[in-house]
Point group: C2
Chain length 276, copies 2
């Protein structure tokens, strides 16, 4: 599998970054992540838009145009020839002789075979724990996932898959997913503040138009008590049902009808998208 480092094809072994890069010294960098269906990247324009917005917000000078990065992605698809892969784009804070100044960034692109998601997750739903936490600059896809990885021992002990973030009881997102509640009237609700502007979230909203009501709104821990169904979304995992949050179980522990419907709709929607 080839990687692309600063516009050039390279081996995995040579895909390295200086220890003087701000990504390593200060955790300062951004990334983005998307899926390919077969050899076709899904929602790539959205991901590139977000990636470039993330860079601009963190003031990291992007070394290539959007079109050039798009071409690099297509070049790597052609080179690696992996059906159904996932792509990672990383832009580092950059090489610096100082230790707190943005420097000359490195852009890394690679893909790998898509992980087979545990089918049980889709059939039985996942368990979540809660955590009072807000991601740094939530609307930006930074490389900082320190807290998520730190929580893994606690999650494993509880048989839980991830943490649901809140601040003073106001819900936002998971470490790597957006979060949704389906209420008793089948209205789909997702947090409007302090969340990553998920590409899957954006397309779910578009996809359900005319079929379900979709609200970006304030959600609280208390809203879980009356939730009919709960699910999460992400570019890799797509739509995954949530069975319980802490001790609160939804829909008697069964995947709800709306969630099931959305999972199916999203498969069709995504496949139609890459066919067009």
């Amino acid at each position: 599998m080839k990687y692309i480092l600063n516009g050039k094809l390279t081996s995995k072994e040579n895909a390295t970054v200086s220890v003087r890069d701000l990504a390593l010294m200060r955790g300062y960098g951004i990334f983005d992540y998307f899926r390919c269906i077969g050899l076709k990247p899904l929602f790539i324009e959205d991901h590139l838009d977000r990636f470039f917005n993330s860079a601009a917000t963190l003031r990291i000078p992007m070394p290539f145009s959007k079109e050039e990065v798009h071409q690099q992605v297509l070049k790597l698809i052609e080179e690696n020839q992996v059906m159904d892969s996932t792509f990672r784009l990383i832009l580092t804070g950059g090489y610096t002789e100082e230790s707190y100044e943005i420097g000359e960034p490195s852009l890394i692109i690679y893909n790998e075979p898509a992980i087979e998601w545990n089918m049980q997750a889709y059939e039985k739903g996942l368990k979540l724990l809660t955590l009072e936490y807000r991601r740094d600059i939530p609307e930006v896809k930074t490389i900082n996932y320190l807290m998520g990885i730190y929580q893994k021992v606690r999650l494993a002990e509880a048989g839980a898959a991830d943490v649901l973030f809140h601040m003073n009881g106001k819900l936002s997102e998971l470490t790597r997913s957006n979060f949704y509640i389906v209420d008793q009237n089948n209205v789909i609700k997702t947090a409007k503040d302090d969340v990553l502007l998920g590409i899957t979230r954006k397309h779910i909203k578009k996809m359900v138009e005319g079929k379900y009501q979709f609200e970006e709104t304030d959600l609280y821990l208390d809203d879980l008590k009356s939730a009919k169904e709960v699910f999460i979304s992400g570019s890799g995992k797509k739509i995954v049902p949530i069975r319980q949050v802490e001790e609160q179980v939804f829909n008697n522990g069964k995947v709800g009808e709306v969630t099931k419907d959305l999972i199916e709709m999203f498969e069709d929607y995504s496949e139609a998208f890459v066919r067009d």
Copy 2:
């Protein structure tokens, strides 16, 4: 200037880390930072203790013993022969074929000439802004300084040097410094929760024994109103007076007597420490 990567002397150019390291992919890693007076590392046992504690808390397997890392530091001092340098130790979350699992870490050690701190800072004091924020896992020196670097534009616009963190008005620390208030009775107070356990902080406490009362306690934004003097500390900057926080000016904008005394005491204390 040589670097040490995984126990071996190497050139700066060859001091690189794989883009598959969790430090780059997920901002997962730790570091530590200390000063040398001449060719003698200051408080190195404390820094190594903290560095090893940080690794243990984040469950990153340390590839060397404390004594081996100590020897590597001494080797680099011998090799680079820089008087008055500062050292950085970085331990990465490690190389991983997965994207969310701790892998085989890299340990990077390097030193560089100590930055000449702006003397004005010591004579006139710095201005701070405030920010509602808590560092991830505050007691650990992780590599995540994303928020601090992100705030730099806002700081520059306000002519301020750093942000003072608080949560709901409860003060903690700065991005890279501990924070102290000297009250009207010359009691030195520093936040007890949600702070990095600073090595300079530890030694200030020890140094002032018998001369000043030192309290690790809860401090609030409101306490700034009655503060006589304010200062910060860090391994590189030592003790630096704070002239104002937002619009609140301390001691009529002059460096206070206690702060001046501590700055002098700390010079003597540090020099005596490396002489022993």
